[in-house]
């Protein structure tokens, strides 16, 4: 009966299934748990981890050098006081947004396809926010005084300036990191209990057991658990929109041409979701191939993500058009010269590359055939990641490098230390991600059980 039901739904929608037919509660559990507990770690994991760890060491070296020497080692200078640090901060935090979006908004919208990808997307969020959070701290110059940003009664009698978007950022990013962690950890509790009950070694049983906190799947616990999860999703949904809006306020509240735009909050949020989904895709495609998860992360997921990328990409393009329109419509010569500088100025090649990456590349997703082609999906997702990074660079640097007076114009060139910090943060991100997929279930096991079609006779086997 189970089989038949499944085929009829298939014929009806003609979409690939969210999960390949033939799985039972037991086989789903065993397959995902085995990735962590019993299956031999693939060689590609060791290679990937080694490279990531090397990059992480580069990062630590660059961080140590900037802490001991000062931000003078970076390319930032007088007209361009915000360089790679802010570019990377905004880029990383944007990448984080897809995780929360998949977890929270798609949960509230009852999109069952989110289940196979939400766990590692949430992990990606956490690690991306960790990378993002480091940049504002590093660019302080005197990093050991970072706690001055927090409101606490100090002996100097001073307090943070709550009218400043930079202080809003402190609250937005730390709230976002905390809530993302809570959401991720709450989602993990039942799966940690599964690992505890299935682990072979005593050490693994103890570690997973402590983390699972004695979860035993009681019906009443589940009842409260589901309520808590739903409420967290409801809280995370406005949060995710607010975080990138606040990040955009850092710019929009300034009177610099190119920053002072009311389109910024929605345009930044769309861009964040755009780059976040691109990153989920970039990670999901190799993961499903290496770990044989094609049955769980199906073409349906990739197809849906491609559609989200296309839709948010169009919103981002609308943002670009609005910047042109507002420069023209405002009649402000500074805005107009900023736009012409973007198009013709010294950073014009980057601007055109940005348009090619963000506006042109995702248009291939109008075609269903392209949305189902793994190489196309992977390449476009990489292009979008690059494009969104270029967008942050263009916004930060081209607006700063030409001030209102030509006497205060200048250029910004990143130094080797800028690059080391940037590539190194990729190492931090990937190292954490590799550790995550090695030690925790990268797909939510209990939610996969729950989305199985009606429990048929095959469950009894």
């Amino acid at each position: 009966m189970n089989e038949r039901n499944h085929t009829t739904t298939e014929d009806f929608s003609s979409l690939p299934p969210v999960i390949q037919p033939g799985y039972t509660y037991a086989s789903i559990t065993d397959k995902i748990a085995a990735l962590v507990l019993t299956r031999r770690t693939p060689r590609s994991w060791f290679i990937g981890f080694a490279i990531s760890f090397l990059l992480l060491m580069v990062f630590l070296f660059a961080v140590a050098y900037v802490v001991t020497t000062g931000v003078g080692i970076w390319g930032v200078n007088v007209p361009v006081g915000w360089g790679f640090d802010i570019v990377n901060f905004v880029w990383w935090i944007g990448i984080g947004h897809a995780g929360t979006l998949i977890s929270a908004i798609l949960l509230l919208l009852r999109q069952r396809w989110r289940t196979s990808i939400n766990r590692f997307a949430e992990a990606m969020t956490l690690f991306a926010v960790a990378c993002a959070g480091l940049y504002p701290l590093l660019h302080l110059g005197r990093q050991w005084l970072a706690y001055w940003l927090l409101p606490y009664p100090n002996t100097m009698g001073t307090w943070p300036q709550f009218r400043s978007p930079l202080v809003w950022d402190v609250f937005a990013v730390s709230t976002y990191a905390t809530v993302s962690f809570l959401f991720w950890f709450v989602g993990l509790i039942p799966d940690l209990a599964t690992l505890r009950d299935r682990a072979g070694s005593r050490l693994a049983r103890i570690v997973y057991g402590v983390l699972a906190m004695g979860w035993r799947g009681s019906a009443i616990h589940w009842h409260r658990y589901e309520m808590a999860y739903l409420l967290l999703a409801g809280l995370a949904t406005p949060l995710v929109v607010s975080v990138h809006s606040v990040v955009s306020f850092d710019f929009a509240v300034g009177i610099i041409p190119g920053w002072h735009a009311t389109i910024f909050p929605p345009y930044f949020v769309a861009g964040a979701i755009y780059s976040g989904f691109a990153m989920v895709m970039t990670l999901a495609i190799p993961l499903r191939a290496i770990y044989g998860l094609e049955d769980f992360i199906t073409l349906r997921h990739l197809d849906n993500m491609a559609k989200v990328i296309l839709a948010t990409g169009l919103i981002v393009v609308y943002g670009y058009l609005m910047e042109f329109f507002m420069a023209w419509y405002s009649g402000s010569p500074y805005e107009q010269s900023m736009i012409s500088n973007r198009v013709h100025g010294p950073y014009a090649p980057l601007y055109w590359a940005l348009l090619a990456c963000n506006a042109l590349a995702p248009q291939v997703f109008w075609s269903k055939r392209m949305r189902r082609s793994i190489p196309v999906l992977f390449v476009v997702s990489l292009i979008v990641n690059v494009g969104m990074w270029l967008e942050r660079f263009i916004i930060v640097v081209t607006s700063l490098h030409r001030d209102f007076l030509p006497s205060s114009w200048g250029m910004y060139y990143p130094t080797a230390w800028d690059w080391a910090t940037y590539l190194g943060s990729l190492g931090l991100f990937l190292t954490l991600l590799f550790l995550f997929i090695r030690f925790l279930p990268m797909i939510s096991i209990f939610e996969m059980r729950a989305i199985l079609p009606t429990p048929g006779e095959n469950q009894k086997a």
Partner: protein
């Protein structure tokens, strides 16, 4: 202190969510109240079948949100008006529109903390030891099997009659749960 019953309870094992739902309803109808069902994923209506209808968690989260929002705003008011007033372009000291982002973030933060900690506290977690884990097959409760445990402290509990009752529900097996 009342004497401890010799065992924690009796546990029956079922194969499907439908079976456990039916069994829980039957046990509730038979008058058992001190019992719990265990499943590898949330089964809709199972808590309801055990007689557990409402959780006060939403109220707890609401209280958390109110505390966070008020706390966030009052903190900014105190800082900007009383403790460290700074005149920024002649704007009022209580420039509340500028305080909205932090107020909002604090609302979400405290509400989310209350949601998670409230859920864990109401569920009595973390709990390092629980008798149900003494049943060897209970390991499968986090994989694919469903369990119904009637506890010995239930007034209707009688080892033999409860055993027979659980057997009548057509389970895969019935087990004694030691303390």
């Amino acid at each position: 202190m009342a004497t401890k019953p010799p065992i924690y309870g009796l546990m029956a094992e079922f194969d499907t969510p439908d079976d456990i739902l039916r069994a829980a309803r039957a046990a509730f109808e038979a008058g058992y109240r001190k019992m719990d069902a265990y499943s590898p994923f949330p089964v809709e209506g199972l808590a309801d079948a055990l007689g557990f209808r409402h959780t006060r968690l939403p109220l707890v989260v609401l209280i958390g949100g109110v505390i966070g929002g008020l706390g966030g705003f009052l903190l900014q008011y105190y800082v900007s008006v009383i403790a460290y007033p700074v005149n920024v372009g002649g704007r009022p000291l209580n420039s509340w529109p500028a305080f909205i982002p932090v107020t909002f973030e604090m609302t979400i933060l405290v509400a989310a903390l209350f949601a998670v900690l409230g859920m864990l506290a109401m569920n009595g977690l973390p709990m390092p030891y629980h008798p149900v884990f003494n049943v060897p097959r209970f390991r499968l409760a986090t994989r694919n099997q469903f369990f119904l445990c009637i506890e010995a402290r239930d007034p209707l509990f009688d080892r033999d009659r409860t055993w027979a009752f659980l057997e009548s529900l057509n389970p895969r097996g019935v087990y004694e749960v030691e303390h």
